[in-house]
Amino acid sequence: MPPLIRLDEVCKSFGALKVIDRLSLALGEGEALGILGPNGAGKSTMFNLITGDLRPSAGRIHFAGRDITDLPAHRRCRLGVGRSYQIPHPFGGMSVFENLLVAAAFGTGRKEAACYGRCVEVLERTRLMPKANVAAGRLTLLERKRLELARALATGPKALLLDEIAGGLTESECQELIATIREIHADGVSIIWIEHVVHALLAVVGRLVVINFGREIAQGAPDAVMADPAVQEIYLGIEAA
């Protein structure tokens, strides 16, 4: 079986700055993959390339065996690429439910009436039900992060890309979020999770990839990767700074 997402020697430059440098990466069907790396390592840019926010300067991107490098973002979403932003981007003037409805209807290409059930299910799973009719612009940070997750889930993704979703949460909020993400993974959704909150990441993912300067530094089982001297150097470097 081909991997769900495959990046082949992908490069992305902004002018002279190489943000992603011949990066190859594969996400297996049903896998939960964690991405670590210092700020500016190119992690979010990698997500932008996968979702279609950005086009790579070189290299190809495949999804479920299909080359999606030239597909626009909304088509990729319909194929099953779901993404939550690091900084929440809710549709502020619309209610939480409407936010999900847009994602569910347009993200799957189905009629709205066929999506109500899915939206309710997602609201319950992400514990946003009490806020269903509140304007998304009025939510707190935690609720906005939940909405990011909920909206991505509403599109019925095969692969879910989570961008620092645990950042800025309290310990108990973080535990709740971990439980939710584990449930989603148990339902068969493959996950790539970028996170600086390492313990949250380790509670969910089965494999880690460490990126720095747009290249893969290390990858493999979480314990082995965390014990890698090159990784420790990067991370100790960050900790000391």
Partner: protein, 288 residues
């Protein structure tokens, strides 16, 4: 009684201004595109109706059956083929391109139809009126124009708040890049917004052409009234736009009653007054 009449006629005229403004407001609301050619597209619709009427001899109101779909298709093609390429983080390209479009439409109409002033003949409807009292009557035509404005705005409200397409419009309005990530194809959505805007503009154009004379050069002034109605009402609020049109119409009507040369000036003064007192308009809805 004379003043009641003046204010009533002005309010009905406001319906026409609201029709001018609704399409402009929709395009700005969905994609932050200020369409400088909006007034000329209204005039273009009037000429389309003129051609339909001349070719088939139908009543001008019936010409809408042909003109509305035509302008809808033109709007879709215009957005997909031209205006989508002007949208980005810069605000100047859409302004320049639609300004150019305005010049092109005016000159093409001048070339094709000459500078003669035209009118759509609506027969008895032009003078038919409804008596409300000894000295008060409203014309059927102004009443129809106002009703058309109210109905179209009500339909647009339903579309925006009760349908999937409306939700896509609002999501795109809030954050176009994010909307794409959730499956909304914004090029198509933008094109539908312009198509709808021009469909509404074509109703405005036909009603304008029955109400008054028109020639290829009157577009920019219609654009100005449309802008004023939108700003008075407050960005993002369609009912506000109707109210804005009514305020503008009443101000012009009252000004015109004081001195026949003051009608347009009075409208602009009312607009300035609202800008000074409530810079965000009377019923603003947009947060940003």
């Amino acid at each position: 009684m004379a003043w009641t009449n003046i204010i009533l006629q002005g309010a009905l005229l406001g319906g026409l201004y609201a029709l001018f403004a609704a399409g402009l407001s929709l395009m700005f609301g969905v994609m932050r595109l200020v369409n400088i050619a909006h007034g000329d597209l209204i005039v273009l619709a009037a000429y389309c109706a003129l051609m339909v009427v001349q070719a088939t001899g139908v009543h001008p109101l019936l010409s809408l059956v042909a003109v509305v779909p035509l302008m809808f298709a033109l709007g879709y093609a215009l957005q997909r083929g031209l205006l989508n390429f002007t949208l980005g983080h810069e605000i100047l390209p859409p302004l320049l391109v639609t300004f150019g479009l305005s010049v092109i439409i005016q000159n093409a109409l001048l070339e094709g139809f000459s500078a003669d002033s035209r009118r759509l003949q609506a027969g008895a409807l032009e003078t038919a009126s409804l008596r409300l009292g000894d000295q008060l009557a409203i014309g059927w035509l102004p009443a129809i124009v106002f009703l058309a404005a109210a109905v179209i705005i009500a339909l647009l409200e339903v579309l925006l708040y009760r349908t999937p397409l409306g939700r896509a419009f609002r999501a795109t309005s809030d954050d176009a890049d994010t909307a794409q990530l959730y499956g909304v194809g914004i090029r198509h959505v933008f094109a539908l917004a312009t198509a709808l805007a021009l469909a509404v503009a074509s109703v405005a154009g036909v009603l304008l052409a029955i109400r008054t004379n028109f020639d290829p050069s009157i577009g920019p002034a219609r654009l100005l009234y449309a802008f004023e109605a939108v700003i008075i009402g407050g960005l993002g609020s369609l009912w506000g736009t109707l109210a804005g049109g009514v305020i503008l119409g009443v101000a012009q009507s009252v000004g015109g009653a004081l001195d026949p040369g003051w009608d347009i000036l009075a409208g602009h003064l009312a607009f300035l007054l609202v800008l000074v007192i409530r810079p965000r308009g009377l019923f603003p809805k947009l947060v940003d």
